[in-house]
């Protein structure tokens, strides 16, 4: 009864989403071999979307838009619907182009934010390696001074990657660490400074205020900071991810999302609502615990890999 493929994927996107494809959307392609476009088909489609965490509203929108298209273009074959669905999904993601990482000379400051347990620290390691592969110099600020051994965790990554991690004593003020790191970064000619922050629920007023303060401290060193605020979201989350994006966005201005843990069975369908409703681009995806399990978000691949191309 219990049969699952061993996960040994690192690298692309496509491999990871293969797993996704084998579940929700392979049922979907099964759906499209049906001849007739009828009510049952629409219901099944809606179900599949909701089960992918796309959310009730967006799922309904998609189905309605497709119904309009079917009427307008006189589509009769379910196969044509597959193409239309693909277009719809791509459109929701803002088209094929992915917004890249912002860049600012001499040093781009990146702040990683998010609720507890989403994968901020691991994502920092991954992003660092990604930048190193492009021959960029990186410095890291161990700004999570709250969680037990958070600084240690980041320091281990720093060692593995050969990157300086600026840290202070545990329970130091995060602002102080950031200030230090920004100064150190500029002094050493680092091209990127990546700031780790403690995980925090968006519902905690004073923690969100603390985040704003960190941003202000960074601005003392560089008035144009922070150039990139990356919100890390867990692909297994449900609709709360939207609220997280909204609140973090209001607090510190989120410029991009890293969607993590796509190697699980969750589909990350919440990405559509985030892009469409909140206009926040997905910039990267995390597809495993290894440092190379990381890639820039590719909307077309994300959607294509969900179908039999």
């Amino acid at each position: 009864m219990y049969m699952f493929q061993r996960i040994k994927r690192f690298n692309p996107f496509r491999d990871t989403l293969q797993k996704t494809r084998d579940t929700v959307f392979s049922r979907m392609t099964g759906l499209f071999t049906e001849q007739v476009i009828d009510d049952a088909l629409w219901e099944e489609l809606e179900e599949l979307l909701i089960r992918a965490d796309v959310g009730v509203d967006i799922s309904l929108d998609i189905v309605q838009n497709l119904q309009v298209r079917v009427a307008r273009e006189h589509l009769t074959q379910a196969r044509d619907l597959e193409m239309a669905l693909r277009d719809e999904l791509l459109d929701l993601l803002g088209g094929a182009d992915t917004e890249g990482l912002r860049h600012h000379a001499p040093m781009t400051s990146i702040m990683m934010v998010g609720v507890n347990g989403v994968g901020k620290t691991t994502s920092i390691a991954k992003l660092t390696r990604y930048l190193q592969e492009q021959k960029k110099s990186v410095i890291i600020a161990a700004g999570d001074t709250f969680r037990a051994a958070a600084v240690e965790q980041l320091s281990i990554w720093g060692e593995r990657l050969g990157v300086t991690v600026i840290r202070q004593t545990s329970s130091a003020d995060p602002g102080a660490v950031v200030y230090d790191a920004m100064q150190a970064g500029l002094a050493r000619g680092a091209e990127y400074v990546i700031i780790d922050t403690a995980g925090r629920l968006h519902t905690k007023f004073n923690l969100m205020e603390e985040l704003k303060k960190v941003q202000r401290v960074a601005q003392k060193v560089d008035p144009t900071a922070i150039h990139e605020v990356l919100l890390v979201l867990d692909a297994t989350s449900g609709q709360n991810a939207l609220e997280q994006t909204r609140v973090f966005g209001e607090a510190v201005g989120v410029t991009g999302v890293i969607l993590t843990k796509l190697d699980g069975t969750a589909k990350g369908g919440v990405a559509f609502a985030i892009r469409r409703r909140l206009k926040v681009p997905i910039k990267f995806v995390g597809t495993g615990e290894k440092v190379q399990d990381f890639a820039p978000f590719d909307a077309q691949q994300f959607v294509s890999a969900l179908f039999n191309v």
């Binding site: 009730v56 609720v115 629920l201 968006h202 905690k204 297994t236 069975t265």
Partner: protein, 445 residues
């Protein structure tokens, strides 16, 4: 976005004339909204389907009670069904094992390590002597994290080098516990995917080899549709004896809990409501039901029901509200609720409140400062302080003032106003004041 289910159902039933019974078409319309509300709360699709079927069955032909309008009637049925499906508070089951062994499992980032520490703390308060075991050898500094937490709590932690195998670590730890007389061993395992064969094998092997009394799944309250699959997989491999839902101090509705419970029958044993080590609470099905449904819905229900209840029933209701003892914690929850609902409508409500207060002769004014500042003050209090403001002495107030960026006078003023509100709560009647009070109360505590 935060329109309550009640509001939506009202819209549905507005079109229908008052009837003696709920007819099937009426109920079908209402069920669309119920379905939507539950899906938005992340309840699993399949579970929602079954749930709606059950509620439909109970609703069609149900008498529309005199006290309740059709929409209220449906809410009442939905609430009852939720509570029923969530099951009862379940307790940790040690039997006479010595030492008792509790294993925590779950996805990455669900909160296992923090919960291990909390559990140890909780058990020690109950007179147990726990030993924490650092069995996550994969994540960098995972062992350090648990060791640090153990030091903070003064609870022993068994750890080996990350080169050791988790099964050996657990085995050795239990041996050590036996030698040192620890009554309970808590195994903190690594986060793992339910579809990762080798990792699932590892944890199944630990359970098989050692006498594990409790296998608890640690699940994040914000988990979406996949919660069922995750729980089913873990349950198939282990099986699980209980669930702890974490990060409930956020605003995720926690529909995952209902999903997991409904499909696997795994009882919910605790909920975790914060990062501090005392933030572990027993699970109350009615509270979680309220949360999944949306507080406002249950409140409106109570409120409407009060309208035509007879004296005896009103007194019973009053006592219930009274003995739930409205605390600063509840006040904070209400503030957060208000923030989400949109400040304008709530401030109007609050202002309406104020004229009510004047009418009833209460001197104090409702706090006019921005809700945010009030929130900051309460947030700077510890959980104990929020529940029992009597604890607040000078030095605590100074700490709170400092932490919230306010003054001790501000803190005092809030406390005065809050005490007045508590007084009013006690004078609850079934009149208009009672209704306003009921509206103020965000949580049934």
């Amino acid at each position: 976005m935060f329109e309550t289910l009640t509001d939506r159902l009202q819209g549905v039933f507005d079109k229908i004339r008052a009837k003696g019974k709920l007819t099937e078409p009426d109920v079908q319309e209402a069920m669309k909204e119920v379905r939507r509300a539950l899906l938005e709360a992340d309840v699993n699709f399949k579970v929602v389907k079954e749930f709606v079927a059950k509620v439909t069955e109970r609703s069609v032909g149900a008498d529309v009670l005199q006290a309740l309008r059709p929409d209220q009637q449906v809410i009442k049925i939905v609430n009852e069904q939720l509570i029923e499906m969530l099951g009862e508070q379940a307790h940790l089951d040690f039997a006479s094992a010595s030492p008792a062994v509790i294993m925590l499992v779950g996805l990455q980032g669900s909160g296992k390590t923090t919960t291990s520490a909390k559990l140890a703390h909780f058990l020690r308060k109950k007179g147990q002597s726990p030993l924490l075991v650092a069995a996550d050898v994969y994540r960098p500094a995972a062992i350090d994290q648990l060791v640090t937490l153990g030091k903070q709590l003064n609870i022993p932690v068994y750890a080996e080098s990350p080169a050791s195998k988790p099964l050996d670590i657990c085995r050795n730890a239990i041996k050590e516990a036996r030698e040192h007389g620890n009554s309970v061993v808590i195994l903190d395992t690594a986060g793992r995917l339910h579809i990762d064969d080798s990792m699932m094998d590892e944890v199944a092997a630990i359970r098989m080899a050692l006498q594990v009394n409790e296998v608890l799944l640690i699940a994040d309250a914000m988990t979406g549709q996949e919660s069922v699959r995750v729980a089913e997989e873990f349950n198939a491999r282990l099986p699980l004896s209980g669930l702890i839902l974490t990060k409930m101090d956020g605003d995720a509705k926690g529909g995952a809990a209902l999903s997991i419970r409904a499909v696997t029958d795994i009882p919910i044993k605790f909920i975790s409501t914060g990062e501090k080590t005392d933030a572990l609470e027993p699970f109350y099905p009615d509270r979680l039901a309220s949360r999944i449904l949306g507080m406002g819905d249950v409140l409106t229900l109570i409120e409407k029901a009060e309208e035509t209840m007879d004296r005896a029933q009103a007194e019973a209701m009053e006592k219930k509200l009274r003995t739930n003892s409205f605390t600063l914690e509840d006040f904070l929850a209400q503030l957060q609720q208000i923030k989400k609902m949109g400040s304008l409508s709530s401030l109007v409500e609050m202002m309406g409140m104020r004229s009510m207060l004047k009418q009833s002769g209460v001197e104090g004014e409702i706090d006019e400062r921005p809700l945010k500042q009030v929130e900051a003050i309460i947030n700077s209090m510890t959980l104990k302080e929020r529940r029992d403001p009597q604890l607040l002495n000078g030095s605590r107030k100074r700490r709170i003032a400092k932490g919230s960026g306010t003054t001790v006078q501000d803190v005092n003023q809030l406390l005065i106003q809050f005490r007045e509100m508590q007084q009013m709560m006690k004078q609850l009647t079934s009149g208009k004041m009672g209704k306003m009070m009921a509206r103020m109360m965000g949580t049934k505590r």
